[in-house]
Amino acid sequence: MAEPVAAPILAVEGLQKRFGGLTALGGIDLAVGKGEVIGIIGANGAGKTTFVNIVTGYLKPSDGRITVNGIDVTGLPPRVMTRRGICRSFQMSQLFASLTCLENLVLAHAAAENGGWKLLADPWTADRLARAEEGLARFGIADYRDARTATLPQGVRKLLDVVLAVAARPHLLLLDEPTSGIASDQRFQIMDVIMGQMAECGVTVLFVEHDMDLVERYARRVLAFLDGRIAADGSVAEVFGHDEVRRAIVGDHRATRRPMGPGQ
């Protein structure tokens, strides 16, 4: 199991979520340290997205407490969480379909920087334009600068979704399946870009991922979701070797690729 975290950036206690009769999350306890990179795995319907939705305030928990840097944030809406430096990307990318990539990003910067009366200012400052161009370039999607996002290929959409999420300069970033829908030969490249950028800025990252190779490669710590609870929490080796997790999620992934682990 994971070692106790001294001053967690994110702490979750007894988090529950019920949809009518269905229990999507049945008591999650978790402490995330500053700068950690955590992979979240779990079968379809295990509650991973629900967890991300609740932590970022999109859904209200049925029970439990969420604290960020020791401050209770349970039930606060997404816009407040964003202003406090907790951002996310989406399993299904959430973009402004009728705007171009550049417009999406400039608007994201402007919205993040302009609260209150400053919303009446023109978003198109030279500085913001330069930063947006640079942001697109850093993630390797500068070629799509003037394409309306409705016309983008899937991989670019997913990347832009992440770019928009980091526009607000988060301390804590939650990525919901950043590589789903992307050809497997491009996944490492895309994750390299994202994780490299985040590591540079010391951002704490939680990423939901179905591709175990990616989890193995980027996560220092793994949470395995099983039917709305965390079945295992620890290093990659610990979690991938966990019996229940092996049976339900990872399968023989490790056994076939690296024949070592508990019991062998």
Partner: protein, 315 residues
């Protein structure tokens, strides 16, 4: 991409030109122009909403509020100054917009449209029942004075025309400025994807509320101008068919430019004048027919500017 700054100058030139042209126009064209400008200002407000994907079936409420504010101001306080009238109308309408916005801001689509309609019909009901305000007959609105200058019969309409040009230019400039602001851009963003807007750190409901106040104020100004033009107000200006006409102009004009509402209103007023002469009782049948046809046969037509372009969901 940022909108061209030159549009601002274009607004000044166009309305300046219209004002100059007004000096040589016959009286009936002056009065059509006045009606078009009052309606255009109201529709400008609807366009502010439309950009965010919202449509109101009850804009007659704020339009009527503007008109009644002008009427009550002269009836109760003897104030007939055009500038004061417009300011009072804008404030009254904005205040009601602010209040009703507390409820309306949570709704979108047909709910928003119908709740607006319901509120406008309450106002209509109140006016009809109010004997002090002349019930269904309404009452006469005194001619406007301009900065202390007393009204002078025929020339007054010309003064009003110049005033309307000024007012239209100011409103168009303000809305143009707003379109270019972050808030203005957020309208498109809200129409496309509210979830993302919230995750960018902005309150969608607060933004909608603000748009609502802006569009109510514009409707109030238009209503004031209309009351000053017609010289009479009655509850019919708040009836739902008035709102229907406004929606009609907004849809056919489109949300593309600040000139569209004025052009649309001008065409509307001309056709209205002709149609009333030829088919006095079938006016709304024609209106509804054209609206329906444009929805059915031009799915990508002008009106679709307000349709929500939701992010397609990929796996």
């Amino acid at each position: 991409m940022p909108m061209p700054r030159s549009t601002g100058w274009l607004i000044v030139i166009v309305f300046g030109g219209v004002a100059l042209g007004g000096l040589g126009l016959p009286a009936w064209m002056i009065s059509v122009g006045l009606s078009a400008m009052s309606q255009g200002i109201v529709v400008l407000g609807l366009v502010v909403l439309m950009r965010a994907g919202l449509i109101s079936f009850g804009q007659g409420l704020y339009f009527g509020l503007g008109g009644y504010a002008v009427g009550v101001l002269s009836l109760e306080f003897g104030i007939t100054d055009a500038f004061l009238r417009v300011i009072a109308a804008a404030l009254a309408a904005a205040a009601v917009g602010l209040l009703l916005g507390c409820l309306l801001r949570r709704y979108r689509g047909i709910f928003f449209a119908m709740l607006s309609l319901a509120f406008s019909m309450i106002f209509y009901g109140l006016l009809v029942k109010n004997q002090n305000l002349g019930s269904t007959d309404g009452f006469r609105v005194l001619a406007s004075t301009f900065a202390g200058r007393p009204p002078t019969g025929g020339a007054n309409q010309l003064w009003l025309f110049l005033f309307a040009c000024l007012l239209s230019a100011v409103c168009a400039l303000a809305v143009h400025r707003y379109f270019r602001s972050t808030l203005g851009w957020l309208a498109t963003a809200i129409r496309d994807n509210e979830t993302r807007v919230e995750y960018l750190g902005c309150s969608v409901n607060a933004a909608v509320h603000l748009k609502l106040v802006l569009c109510s104020a514009l409707a109030g100004i238009g209503g004031a101008l209309s009351a000053m033009t017609v010289g009479h107000i009655d509850p019919a200006i708040t009836y739902w068919t008035t709102s229907g006409e406004l929606v009609f102009v907004a849809i056919l004009g489109g949300a593309g430019s600040v000139f569209a509402p004025f052009l649309g209103a001008l065409v509307f007023q001309v056709v209205h004048t002709l149609a009333l002469a030829m088919l006095p009782h079938a006016w709304h049948v024609i209106l509804g027919g054209v609206l329906l046809a444009s929805i059915l046969f031009m799915p990508d037509g002008l009106w679709s500017a307000i349709a929500r372009r939701r992010e397609r969901s990929h796996g």
